[in-house]
């Protein structure tokens, strides 16, 4: 297998995504902000994904706690379990898990919706009337994902900590106040802020990648399916890539 076989095509798509990002940015600043539509999209996207993010995060928190306990017990370090789980969840696992769920749920939804608008000529209908499809279709969705995904991540973190607490009390009873005290005792702003900051980048990217795949959809139902699939794959891959960059930047500015 030649690893570089699809590279020119991928580079071309990346270039197209960058151009799309710049055009969308221009559309955002040139058009009158449609705050009502931003809020509507934010509500739709957030409402649709909250349950899935919360349940997934809860399970991850619970499993992480149950799996880590025996190893920590070997060293007599069970006391540190809430703190270890909290730092893992808030710094890394929570944002990435929530972003991956959103890439699947929100990214695919945006990709499919925009692609079906493209193949049914709805985007052309806007352009031909002098209405910017970027400003009316892309900008509200991208603004919504950029603002909503960080909120979903924070709610997901809370659900994961709840899962962790349930994991703790399955083994031995523990006061919730004590759990929270121990969970947050080693958490610093340098843990929290970069983790929250990268979720904005996840949100921006997921919305943008979904809309871009939809905009580039080929004609016909197969084009919609392909665009949806691409939106998910691009979203998941991009989340990992952004995370890699964010972790290295965090280490550079805040230390590891």
């Amino acid at each position: 297998m030649n690893l570089f076989e699809g590279l020119p095509g991928r580079m071309e798509r990346f270039g197209s995504l960058v151009r799309f990002f710049l055009s969308s940015g221009r559309a955002l600043f040139r058009s009158r902000p449609d705050v009502g539509e931003w809020v509507r999209q934010g509500y739709l996207l957030g409402n649709r994904s909250f349950g899935l993010v919360a349940v997934t995060a809860f399970i991850v928190g619970l499993v992480l706690t149950v799996q880590s306990r025996p190893t920590l017990a070997l060293f007599g370090a069970e006391r540190w379990l809430p703190s270890m789980v909290a730092i893992s969840i808030i710094k890394e696992i929570g944002p990435v898990i929530a972003a991956l769920v959103c890439a699947g749920r929100i990214g695919s939804g945006i990709g499919a919706e925009v692609a079906s608008m493209k193949v049914s000529e709805q985007l052309d209908a806007m352009e031909v009337s002098g209405i910017s499809a970027l400003a009316c279709v892309v900008v509200p969705r991208v603004v919504a994902t950029t603002l909503v995904i960080p909120v979903l991540v924070l709610l997901g973190d809370a659900a994961a900590l709840l899962g962790s607490y349930v994991g703790m009390i399955l083994a031995s009873p523990m006061d919730p106040g004590l759990f929270l005290t121990r969970a947050f005792e080693n958490l610093t702003y340098s843990n929290l802020l970069p983790a929250v900051a990268k979720t904005f980048a996840f949100g921006l990217y997921i919305g943008l990648a979904g809309a871009h795949c939809g905009f580039e959809a080929e004609p016909g139902p197969a084009g919609v399916a392909k665009a949806t699939n691409r939106a998910v794959v691009a979203g998941i891959f991009g989340v990992f890539l952004i995370d890699l960059v964010a972790v290295n930047l965090t280490n550079l500015f805040f230390g590891s």
Binding site: E113, S116, S120, M126, E127, V128, G130
Partner: protein, 245 residues
């Protein structure tokens, strides 16, 4: 006295796909208040021609001028200004599926005409629905509309901006003969009532007869014949005459 500037003009337009010229040095001109019908077989490049005429597709060579403005060299703001006075009925109507009938029109009024006053929007919505005979569908969703109603809604959406130029892509395709006739009459009424210059791309002869002031037959990427319905019907050119049998 100088001749009036055509509302729309294509000069030497060429558009290729994979080396094949779908439009080959095409020349076309539309006068104020005129309805020009473009007839051609399936795959003759009618839709490509229409999309090139409004700048949804770029020509490889040649130019398109709308009210004297060259679409190929116009800056985006001028292009948008021109497009705001242009109506386009797509073959599939291109209705915004997530919005109701009213929502489709309201969106167009707010975004295209930049009208924000709710009362004024409501008056315009009601008026244009009345014009196309779609008052009873006011609150319905596009999924609940028949093919003919979708076309009417597409037409209403195009007319709401009171365009100077209307373009129709296969307006009667997929409709029953009665509805086709109604749509053709609506096109004619729009042209007569509002004095809108129109281009109708079709392969439906009944539609062509009902709407045309002038007909252009295209084939092999170029104009093969031009004239009134009666002139072309009597054409000695076998390829042109074949349309009218």
């Amino acid at each position: 006295m100088a001749a009036p500037v055509p509302v729309l003009q294509m000069i030497d337009g060429t558009r290729r796909f994979g080396g094949r010229a779908v439009l080959d040095h095409m020349a076309l001109s539309l006068r104020q208040g005129e309805t020009l019908v473009i007839l051609g077989r399936s795959g003759a490049g009618k839709t490509v021609l229409l999309k090139c005429l409004v700048g949804l597709m770029q020509l490889d060579e040649g130019s398109v001028l709308i009210q004297g403005l060259d679409l190929g060299t116009a800056d985006p703001d001028s292009l948008n200004l021109i497009r705001r006075k242009l109506g386009f009925l797509f073959q599939g109507a291109a209705i915004y599926d997530s919005l109701s009938v009213r929502g489709n029109l309201e969106f167009q009024i707010r975004k295209q005409l930049r009208i924000r006053d709710a009362a004024q929007v409501e008056i315009l919505v009601r008026q244009v629905l009345l014009d196309v005979g779609l008052e009873e569908a006011y609150g319905r969703m596009p999924a609940e509309l028949s093919g003919g109603m979708r076309k009417r809604l597409g037409l209403a959406r195009a007319l709401v901006s009171e365009p100077d130029l209307m373009l129709y892509d296969e307006p009667t395709t997929g409709l029953d003969p009665v509805t086709s006739q109604e749509i053709s009459h609506l096109i004619r009424a729009t042209q007569k009532g509002r004095g809108v210059a129109s281009i109708v791309v079709t392969h439906d002869l009944h539609c062509a007869r009902a709407t045309a002031d002038r007909i252009v037959v295209i084939g092999d990427g170029a104009c093969r014949a031009e004239g009134t319905y009666a002139q072309l019907e009597a054409s000695p050119d076998e390829a042109v005459n074949a349309f009218f049998r």
